[in-house]
């Protein structure tokens, strides 16, 4: 039997709080899970700094990746024998599902923003480069690693295969919504996934949903909407992200000005130099990053030490609602007042916007923007979801955006009571 089809002598199962069990029968999948690059995902949290708001949110990208694999495994099981589905694509789908987040680094969002990186590039590099993952995939056939990388990159020739991992109703979202809801402890994020999987049908370019399953999909869209505002875009989590971003900026700025760190930031140097090799990238996980944040609290640079203390001790920035549309001049004034008061506005004042977040709402795909969710009507016709569902139409038509102004309130409080600057800053912040 070829390696692609080789089965384990007995099925392995992982206990999982979301899907109950994750089933592994294929030797290839078992071997991929055992690689150091996949095991590294245990040391990367799925929700980054969210644990500072919801203390349960300590789950890793490892468990999410297994969850996505399990959902795709169930989908392809259901698809077997259906029109438009070729069962030869099964292993490709399973591998792409398992490995889709392989390139995520520690606190990916902040790191990528500050250092101009893209985890998708690293996913590709891990799959195609000199790694154990590549070694395992090559055993299938020489083209297989490239096919897996193409599916994850969404550039694979078979768009149906791509859509299972990446579309507006894909295994990735179905897992993270449920998993994040479970670990944060919120009561949103729940929907009837079994029902959705049962009514999913393979079509030429994407999986569609039978019209009879519309209400289950409505629930999924609602949970996506609620999780966005209640969890992913929580203002306290955003405050922690702002501080983390500032730490990275400050450390980089100090490095560039030849500051003598008490502890040489070995693991960060290639990031500061914008020359990150795959080897460097894989070495920096969240445990290592945290080690530096601890040590940097003792640095002579007051800003770096203070920001790290804030992050480690969860002494976060305060925030107010802020509308740049009519308060932009006040922001300019605040920057000047902060500078005058000796509080560096580049590190202690920040506007954070909804567009800074790597999560999205459902889009109807008008004007060929992106592909929508399609319902298959009893006569076989395909219709866009929001045209059939009043609930989905109501929430997908709304364009809710949000901006908040973050600042170090304790620094302002420490200014002398009779100071004019303090009074002006407070006036602006209190509106």
């Amino acid at each position: 039997m070829s390696y692609r089809h080789e089965q384990l002598s007995e099925e392995k199962v992982f206990k999982d709080p979301v899907h109950r069990y994750i089933h592994v029968r294929d030797q290839l999948i078992w071997d991929l899970i055992g690689t150091p690059e996949f095991q590294r995902l245990r040391r990367i949290k799925q929700l980054g700094t969210t644990y500072l708001t919801f203390h349960g949110a300590e789950h890793s990208r490892f468990s999410h990746s297994l969850g996505v694999y399990e959902i795709v495994r169930r989908i392809v099981e259901n698809f077997r024998g259906q029109p438009n589905w070729n069962d030869d694509d099964r292993m490709l789908c399973l591998c792409a599902a398992l490995l889709h987040d392989l390139g995520h680094g520690p606190f990916s969002h902040s790191f990528e923003k500050v250092f101009g990186l893209d985890h998708e590039d690293f996913t590709r590099e891990i799959i195609l480069g000199d790694t154990k993952v590549n070694e395992v995939l090559l055993k299938v056939d020489p083209q297989f690693p490239q096919d897996v990388a193409d599916v994850i990159n969404k550039t694979y020739r078979n768009k149906l295969v791509v859509s299972l991992i990446s579309s507006q109703i894909d295994a990735d979202r179905m897992d993270y919504l449920q998993r994040d809801a479970y670990f944060t402890g919120v009561s949103y994020g729940h929907f009837d996934m079994e029902r959705i999987l049962r009514v999913m049908r393979p079509m030429e370019d994407q999986a569609v949903v039978k019209e009879s399953g519309m209400h289950a999909v409505e629930d999924y869209i609602m949970s996506r909407y609620q999780m966005y505002w209640q969890v992913y875009f929580h203002p306290v989590t955003r405050s922690a992200e702002v501080i983390l971003t500032k730490i990275l900026h400050r450390a980089k700025e100090l490095y560039e000005s030849n500051y003598a760190f008490k502890l040489e930031p070995m693991h960060f140097i290639s990031f500061f130099d914008h020359d990150v090799s795959l080897k460097d990238y894989l070495k920096l996980d969240e445990n290592v990053a945290f080690y530096y944040f601890h040590i940097w609290q003792e640095e002579d640079d007051a800003i770096l030490a203070d920001l790290c203390r804030r992050f480690v001790d969860r002494d976060l920035f305060k925030y107010i609602e802020f509308n740049p549309g009519n308060q932009y001049r006040e922001l300019m004034d605040l920057k000047d007042y902060f500078t005058e008061a000796g509080i560096d506005p580049s590190y202690y004042l920040e506007v954070d916007s909804s567009s800074d977040l790597p999560y999205d709402f459902y889009r109807q795909g008008e004007d060929e923007e992106r592909l929508p969710i399609l319902l298959q009507m009893p006569n076989g016709e395909l219709k866009e979801l929001s045209r059939q569902s009043d609930i989905v139409e109501a929430i997908s038509g709304k364009k809710r955006t949000d901006h908040k102004l973050y600042y170090a309130e304790d620094f302002i409080n420490q200014l002398p009571e009779d100071s004019n600057i303090k009074r002006r800053i407070r006036e602006i912040l209190k509106g």
Binding site: K154, G325, Y328, S355, R370
Partner: protein
Amino acid sequence: MLEDHAKLMAFFEQAQEVVGRKRLQKMVYILKKTGFNFSERYSFHFYGPYSEELSTRIEELCNLGFLVEEKEQEKGYYQYRYTLTDNGTSFLTDSNVDTPNMTALINKMNEQSSKFLELVSTMLFFDNFTKEEVEEKVLTVKSKQNYTEEDLQEAWTFIDDMKKH
């Protein structure tokens, strides 16, 4: 602060107007790939490179009153027209963001169909490949667009011109 918003507004100021969401997505991507410093992250989607970050940022600019989005009904479909408002112009002036001149390139793109811009942006998405590989990849992932040899040649010429700016 808000530099990324300001950069997009500079784009709209120089474009005067942009018609079509797909067109807008592809224009910003092409500018980004030809060296302009837009921070929006793109990934590959059904209609070529697409940035969710850009879509949300455009919504923010509309909600802030810096940009106007007009929905127009065409034969059997909707399209969207974007123009900068006076408030947007004054925000842009105050923000002091360093904005390079991209007007000529924007005009050049505005003369093309969105289908052609989809082709160009898709080719640029694979710019780490050889020319032959790019063409093969484009014809594979865009098989339904039925791009011809002439379309591809025209797109290469267009890309060369854009890069000469």
